[in-house]
């Protein structure tokens, strides 16, 4: 455990070394947040419902989605693909730690740094803009939201690893990852709540892992899911965590047989 804590610490040191680069990333997130906020503020109205949501609920949803995106979707797993392509993976294979454990620790370090800054920025923006947003006070819903976010982090981590392991078979690891992130905007409910789509499409979303990235945790936070929906949602998402874990292990073993340690 101690070695993984050291990995988290070294990730923080790395971010702190390139402070200006990290600042640019945070400014980018603030820009994104402001664009989304002003867009939905104008589209929605305090008196009418938009897609069945009140202005308070929709603003809470879209701002929450922007915040959760920076927590759930931030990852270092793209470096796995680069590692494989340039042959740096060989260095990791001889080190005394689990390869995916190392990358998960990197992810945690990265997310922790981002969460601290995101909370600071949101607090400042809240006092500046005073947006009409909903604060969940029920501790049960808050705890369930945290649990759903943790599941989402695992889902994103395993999918990130799988996308990067394309590097065992192809030098082009960027394109599948980019397509994934474009699709996730829709399928995870990052751009819109998924319940604006027809019921048949919603059923498909419900059984895919993507709706558990952002939509499910946010709906729990808003307190709009029934007990039955909660049980079903947690069951499906946990089944996906197991499936993706097993798939990651299988692809890793197959990929290592293919790996020739070539590169610079």
């Amino acid at each position: 455990m101690k070695k993984y804590l050291l990995v988290i610490r070294s990730t923080w040191d790395e971010i702190a070394t390139y402070r200006f680069n990290f600042t640019m990333w945070r400014i980018r997130n603030v820009f994104q947040l402001l664009t989304i906020y002003f867009l939905w503020l104008t589209v929605s109205s305090p008196k009418t419902l938009v897609f069945g949501y009140s202005q308070t609920d929709i603003l809470t949803y879209v701002l929450g989605a922007a915040l959760l995106s920076s927590i759930v979707l931030s990852t270092r797993t793209q470096e796995i693909g680069e590692n494989i392509n340039v042959g740096d993976l060989s260095n990791f294979l001889v080190k005394p730690f689990a390869y995916f454990g190392y990358w998960f620790a990197r992810d945690i370090g990265d997310k922790a740094f981002n969460i601290v800054f995101a909370i600071g920025e949101l607090t400042v923006l809240y006092f500046l803009l005073k947006p009409p947003i909903f604060f969940q006070t029920d501790i049960q819903f808050l705890l369930l939201t945290v649990l759903a976010v943790m599941i989402a982090i695992f889902l994103n981590f395993f999918i990130g690893c799988l996308l990067s392991m394309v590097g065992f078979w192809s030098p082009d690891v960027w394109a599948p990852r980019f397509i994934f992130f474009v699709l996730i905007g829709f399928l995870a409910g990052g751009a819109f709540p998924l319940d604006i789509f027809p019921a048949s499409v919603q059923t498909i979303f419900q059984f895919s892992p993507f709706s558990y990235f952002l939509y499910f945790p946010l709906k729990i936070y808003l307190g709009t899911l029934s007990q039955q929906q909660l049980i079903l949602g947690f069951t499906i998402s946990l089944v996906w965590v197991v499936i993706l874990y097993l798939l990651t292990q299988y692809v890793w073993k197959k990929g290592l047989k293919q790996y020739s340690a070539q590169g610079s």
């Binding site: 680069n21 990333w25 664009t35 867009l39 938009v50 394109a175 829709f186």
Partner: protein
């Protein structure tokens, strides 16, 4: 005049070299083409969904906003075709000290840094955007004329100049602060500002609104011309912003070069 001809000749050769590279790495081309196609469709569908419940937003009709999404796709495809690859490498070239070899070449360093790569896969983005414009334009109630298209193309040059100047000015910071990969992410996000009408940002602080003002002109002014709603002021603002920002970015690059230490990161 002789110098301009020389630069055109060099640029033609660079475009040809890029094309040869594209044929050499075809798998990369196909995957990038799919990526840009999916992204372009996503941008248009997002606006279609967002405006599905309202006929007017920010004083623009739904079809006008959809036209804006199409025009953004076309204008940004020009910008990304000409400069995105150059700007992608920008920070790394400085970080690893490779700018040295560019500075000693008998050609303008800014030209080589920003114009030596073309992204041919942006053609997919252009085709989708242009196709969508032709589809949605008749629904806006305006009428097409060759003169309007010419005006649109002319103003697109100024719009791309604004985007280029913004990118160059901010990317130049990499001379002082190396390893700035995230600057590109910030600029990509800033480009998105031009997807929406100016009215949307009026709720933001005055400082933010004026800082972003040139970007809000990038798509809005050419569209206003297409819809025959542009005033002389709109066009003058776009042209003045484009020329002044280009001069500022050029001067800033030349000033920054004096601080370049050539040390590799």
């Amino acid at each position: 005049m002789k110098k301009i001809k020389y630069y055109f000749k060099v640029y033609r050769m660079l475009l040809r070299l890029n094309l040869l590279k594209l044929f050499a790495y075809r798998a990369n081309f196909y995957s990038s083409a799919v990526t840009h196609t999916v992204w372009s469709i996503f941008l248009i569908v997002a606006i279609a969904l967002l405006t599905s419940k309202s006929s007017h937003v920010f004083g623009w009709t739904r079809n006008e906003l959809l036209l804006m999404a199409g025009c953004y796709t076309v204008i940004s495809s020009f910008f990304y075709f000409l400069f995105s690859r150059g700007f992608t490498d920008f920070s790394n070239i400085i970080h690893f000290g490779r700018l040295d070899s560019i500075l000693i070449k008998p050609i303008d360093s800014q030209f080589l840094m920003t114009c030596s790569h073309a992204s041919y896969t942006q053609i997919c983005r252009f085709v989708i955007g242009a196709g969508f414009i032709f589809f949605i334009f008749p629904h806006t109630g305006a009428t097409f004329s060759p003169l309007l298209i010419l005006w649109f193309m002319l103003l697109t040059i100024f719009s791309v100049t604004i985007m280029y100047s913004f990118w160059l000015t901010l990317m130049t910071i990499a001379i002082w602060f190396t390893h700035l990969d995230n600057l590109k992410e910030l600029l990509l996000q800033m480009n998105q500002i031009s997807r929406f009408p100016q009215e949307m940002y009026k709720g933001a602080s005055i400082f933010l609104f004026f800082a972003l003002f040139p970007l809000t002109l990038v798509v809005v002014t050419p569209i206003k011309v297409l819809l025959q709603k542009a005033s002389v002021n709109d066009i003058v603002w776009l042209v003045v912003c484009a020329i002044s920002l280009f001069i500022i970015s050029r001067k800033f690059w030349q000033f920054a070069l004096r601080s370049y230490t050539s040390a590799s990161g």
